[in-house]
Symmetry: C2
């Protein structure tokens, strides 16, 4: 059970962006250098973030990305959703909800996995990008 780099990088990059986007757009190159994430990989990630309207792009020299919403309105859920970082506990979801293929003993633990998924997703629902940067605002230059 682990978080993938894609989800982790997305949050790291947006946290970085949230701290530095006050004046100008932030270039991926800067984020790449500060966070130690490959530029090419960042481009993939930001392409998805843009499609989900979490960030906005500014092309050309001095271009980059800016947040498309207030940092308080961007939940971790939204970020993970954008980059396809899903919380999956069990496959049998798509089948009939009760009994999982009719074998009633099979999914003794079905409710457990549901609870676990909810438990984790609640965490992501409660945290916003703002929650991350406010704690680090004293580091701001």
């Amino acid at each position: 059970m682990k978080l993938t780099s894609k989800g982790r990088y997305a949050v790291m990059a947006l946290a970085d962006l949230a701290r530095f986007d006050n004046v100008n757009p932030v270039s991926l190159r800067d984020i790449s250098l500060r966070q130690g994430i490959s530029l090419d990989y960042l481009e993939q990630i930001f392409s998805k973030l843009r499609k989900k309207e979490i960030v906005q792009s500014v092309r050309g020299i001095q271009g980059g990305y800016v947040l498309n919403k207030n940092a308080k309105e961007i939940k971790l859920t939204n970020i993970f959703d954008a980059v396809d970082e899903k919380v999956k506990t069990v496959q049998c979801k798509k089948e009939s909800k009760k009994g999982c293929n009719g074998k009633s003993t099979k999914c003794l633990t079905h409710n457990l996995w549901d609870e676990l998924e909810n438990h984790i997703n609640n965490f992501f629902e409660e945290k916003s990008l703002y929650d991350l940067v406010k704690d680090n605002s004293e580091r701001r230059i």
Copy 2:
């Protein structure tokens, strides 16, 4: 972020065991049939569970496995730990705790991942095998 089959199967198999081990040891073959898990794979899993003293084996005809502790004392944490299902959110843990390699901007999100790990692990600490089977005891034959 997903739960692996190994962890999931371990819990499913133990829940099955907890329901049926009142009288006799439960054979892996029975669990395999009821839960739809490959026998060979179950053997790998139970080998680990036995080493961690979560179950006890009984050899020979009519043999099988029994729980080695009261179901209330077996937490999901213990199960996942036994089969190496770990909750991992971030790699930089092993390095220096502050700043992650000295780059102070890098781990803006470090605390977040710690919180997430704790959040998930708390869930596993709170749930015991008994919690699973008590909810399903009315299904018992």
